[in-house]
C-alpha cells in the first residue's frame, strides 16, 4: 500500500517549471518593442515612400505620408544625372568599395591581432597603454583635425586612399572593444591549445577569433558604418578618388530641383548599411568557448 502510494507520487507529473515570462509579460514586451520599433522605423519608411513618389506627389500639399502611384522615375532621374557626371559613376562605387573593404578588413584584423596579446600576455606598460587608448578615444576627430592633417601630409598620404584607410586600421575603439571581449575568454582554453602544440598565430586564428565572433562581427558593422559614410573630407581632393557618399551628397545638395533623385539617393545610402547590418547580425550566434570545460 505504502509502496503503491510512493509509486503514484513518483509517477505524478512534476509541476511544470515556469521558464518563460507570463503571457501578459510577453504581450507587454511585444507591445513595447513594437512601439519602439515603429518610432525607429518612421524615418526609414519615410525614405522608402519618398523614393517611389512621383514628383507631383512629393510636392503635394498637404503632404501625404504614403505613396499613391509608385514609380521608378526617381531612380531613372538619378541614372540620367549620374551618366552625365564628369567622373563615371562606377568609379565612385569602386572608391567606396576599396575604402570600405580594406578599411573594415584591415581594422578588424589589426586591432584584434593587437588585442589578443595585450589581453592574454603580460607586457611592461600594459596599463599605461590601455589608459592612453581610453584617453585617445576622447579626442574627437574634429578637434585633432589640424595635427592629423599635418601628419598625413608628412607621410605623403595626402590625396590617396591611404589617408582614409590607414588611420582606420588603428582606430582605438576597435582595439578597446576587442580587448575587452577577448578578456572574457577563459585562459584555460588557450592553455589547452598551446599544450597541443599550437603556435601563437594558430591560437589567435583558430581559437581566439572563432570564439569572439560576435565581437568582431559587431566591429565590422561599426567600422563599415563609419567608412561607408565617409566623404573623404579634406584628404581625398581629386574627383576620381571621392567616395560614393560624397557623389550622392552632391546630388542631394542640388536642393529642391533634385528632390526626386535625392530621395532615391537617400534610399540607396540607407539600404546598403541596413542590409549589411542584417546579414552580419544574423551571423552572430552563440559561441561555445566554455562548453566541456572543467575548472
Amino acid at each position: 500500500m505504502a509502496k503503491k502510494e510512493t509509486l503514484r507520487r513518483i509517477k505524478r507529473k512534476p509541476k511544470e517549471v515556469m521558464l518563460n515570462r507570463s503571457i501578459a509579460g510577453n504581450a507587454g514586451l511585444l507591445f513595447f518593442i513594437s512601439l519602439m520599433g515603429v518610432i525607429m522605423f518612421l524615418p526609414m519608411l519615410f525614405t522608402i515612400m519618398n523614393a517611389f513618389k512621383p514628383l507631383d506627389e512629393m510636392f503635394y500639399f498637404p503632404p501625404r505620408f504614403f505613396v499613391r502611384n509608385p514609380t521608378m522615375d526617381n531612380f531613372f532621374d538619378l541614372g540620367v544625372l549620374l551618366s552625365t557626371s564628369w567622373v563615371p559613376f562606377s568609379r565612385y562605387v569602386l572608391n567606396t568599395l576599396i575604402i570600405t573593404g580594406f578599411g573594415v578588413v584591415g581594422h578588424v584584423l589589426i586591432s584584434s591581432m593587437a588585442a589578443y596579446p595585450i589581453s592574454k600576455h603580460d607586457f611592461p606598460g600594459q596599463k599605461v597603454l590601455l589608459r592612453m587608448v581610453v584617453l585617445s578615444l576622447m579626442f574627437a576627430g574634429a578637434v585633432t583635425a589640424i595635427p592629423n592633417y599635418i601628419i598625413i601630409s608628412a607621410l605623403g598620404m595626402n590625396n590617396t586612399y591611404l589617408a582614409v584607410i590607414v588611420p582606420a586600421f588603428s582606430y582605438s575603439l576597435g582595439f578597446y572593444l576587442m580587448k575587452n571581449f577577448i578578456d572574457q575568454l577563459p585562459d584555460s582554453l588557450l592553455e589547452s591549445a598551446r599544450m597541443d602544440g599550437a603556435k601563437e598565430l594558430r591560437v589567435y586564428w583558430s581559437i581566439v577569433m572563432p570564439n569572439v565572433k560576435p565581437a568582431w562581427l559587431t566591429l565590422t558593422i561599426l567600422q563599415f558604418q563609419v567608412l561607408w559614410g565617409t566623404t573623404g573630407g579634406q584628404f581625398l581632393r581629386s574627383e576620381q578618388l571621392k567616395p560614393l557618399n560624397y557623389a550622392l551628397g552632391q546630388i542631394v545638395a542640388g536642393n529642391i530641383a533634385r528632390q526626386g533623385a535625392g530621395s532615391a539617393v537617400g534610399l540607396i545610402m540607407m539600404s546598403v548599411p541596413v542590409t549589411f547590418f542584417i546579414v552580419s547580425q544574423s551571423k552572430i550566434l552563440q559561441t561555445m568557448a566554455t562548453s566541456g570545460m572543467k575548472e
Binding site: M18, L19, I33, G37, I39, M40, F41, P43, F46, T47, N50, M58, F65, I110, M113, A114, Y116, P117, H121, F123, V133, V134, M138, A140, G141, A142, V143, N148, I151, F169, S170, F175, Y176, N180, F181, D183, Q184, K199, E200, P214, L217, Q225, N245, G249, V252, Q259, G262, S263, V265, G266, I268, M269, M270, P273, V274, F277, I278, Q281, S282, M288
Partner: protein, 306 residues
C-alpha cells in the same frame, strides 16, 4: 668538441616576442595617428598659434590659453558644465535602456535581424547622404519655398525629436497633442537614438555567454529572474564597463563643448591654441569622470579569469 652555444629562448619569452609582433602594426598606427595627435594638441594648447598661408607661427605662452578659457572666455565654463552634467544624466539611462533592449532582442524570434536593424537605424541615418535627403524632404513638405534650418538632422547628432515632431505636424497632427508627446518622448527618443551601438555591443556580449551555463541553471531549477542576476549579469558585467566607456566617449564627442572648441579653432578668430586648450581641459574633465566611473564599476564586476 664543444657544441656551438646556441641562443635559446624560453617558451614564455618566445610567446611574448610573438605577441609583441602581433601588437606592432596596430601600435605604430596608434602612436602615429592618435598619440601624436594628442601630443600635438597639448603643444598647441601651450602656444599662441597664428595661421598663415601654408604654415603657422607658434609662440610659447605657457598656460595663458587655459587661463583665458576658464577666466576670460564668455561661454566655455558654462558649456563645459552643461556638457558634463548632461553626460552624467544621459549615460546611465542609455546603458539601462540598451541593456534592456539587448535582453529583449537577444531572444530567438523570427526576423530578429530586421528588428535589431531598426534599433541601429539612427546610427545609419547619420550618414551625410541620408541626412541631407531628409532635410530637403522636410523643407519641401513645409511649403517648399523656405528652407528649414537643419534642425531635423545634424550629421553629428543623428536624429532630433523636434525635427520628427515638425515632420508629423506637417502632416497636420494638432500641435498640443504633439507637444505632449514631445515632452514624454523627448528624453526617451534622445536615449534611443544614442543607444544603437550599445545595443549591438550588448547583444554580442550576451551571445558570448556560454549556453552550458544556462543549461546548468535550468537543470538546477533556477528561475529566469535568478538566472539573470546570477549568470547573465555577472557574465556580461565587464562589457557593461566597456559600454559605459563607449557611451561617455560617444556622448562627449558630440557635446557642445567639443563643438565650441572646434568652432574656436576653425572659424572666427582661428585661435587654434585656445581651441586646443579647450579640448585638452574638457578631455581631462571627461577623463576624470570616466576613470572614476570605471573604477567604481570595476569593484562590482566579475572577471572570469581573475
Amino acid at each position: 668538441m664543444m657544441a656551438k652555444k646556441r641562443f635559446v629562448m624560453t617558451i614564455r619569452t618566445r610567446e611574448r616576442l610573438q605577441g609583441m609582433l602581433f601588437v606592432l602594426p596596430w601600435f605604430c598606427g596608434f602612436m602615429l595617428f592618435f598619440v601624436r595627435n594628442m601630443y600635438e594638441t597639448l603643444i598647441f594648447s601651450l602656444n599662441k598659434i597664428t595661421p598663415h598661408l601654408g604654415h603657422y607661427d607658434s609662440d610659447f605662452v605657457a598656460f595663458e590659453n587655459y587661463i583665458y578659457a576658464f577666466r576670460g572666455h564668455a561661454q566655455f565654463l558654462q558649456v563645459l558644465y552643461n556638457s558634463m552634467s548632461n553626460l552624467l544624466i544621459d549615460v546611465p539611462m542609455i546603458i539601462f535602456f540598451a541593456l534592456f533592449m539587448a535582453l529583449i532582442l537577444n531572444r530567438k524570434f523570427k526576423g530578429r535581424g530586421v528588428i535589431r536593424a531598426l534599433f541601429f537605424l539612427p546610427v545609419i541615418i547619420a550618414t551625410d547622404g541620408v541626412t541631407l535627403m531628409l532635410n530637403m524632404a522636410n523643407a519641401v513638405m513645409a511649403g517648399g519655398i523656405q528652407n528649414l534650418p537643419s534642425e531635423f538632422m545634424s550629421t553629428t547628432e543623428g536624429m532630433n525629436v523636434m525635427g520628427l515632431m515638425r515632420m508629423l505636424s506637417n502632416y497636420g497632427i494638432p500641435a498640443n497633442v504633439l507637444g505632449y508627446v514631445a515632452d514624454v518622448t523627448g528624453r526617451i527618443y534622445t536615449i534611443m537614438r544614442a543607444s544603437g551601438v550599445q545595443i549591438v555591443i550588448f547583444i554580442a556580449a550576451l551571445q558570448s555567454v556560454s549556453p552550458a551555463m544556462y543549461e546548468v541553471a535550468h537543470i538546477e531549477g533556477a528561475t529566469p529572474y535568478e538566472t539573470f542576476w546570477k549568470i547573465t549579469l555577472p557574465m556580461i558585467s565587464p562589457l557593461i564597463i566597456t559600454n559605459v566607456v563607449y557611451t561617455i566617449v560617444d556622448n562627449y564627442t558630440v557635446s557642445p563643448v567639443v563643438e565650441l572648441a572646434k568652432n574656436t579653432g576653425t572659424s572666427g578668430s582661428y585661435d587654434f591654441g585656445l581651441s586646443a586648450a579647450m579640448s585638452m581641459s574638457s578631455a581631462v574633465c571627461v577623463g576624470l569622470i570616466l576613470f572614476a566611473v570605471v573604477w567604481l564599476l570595476s569593484r562590482f564586476t566579475f572577471y572570469q579569469n581573475a
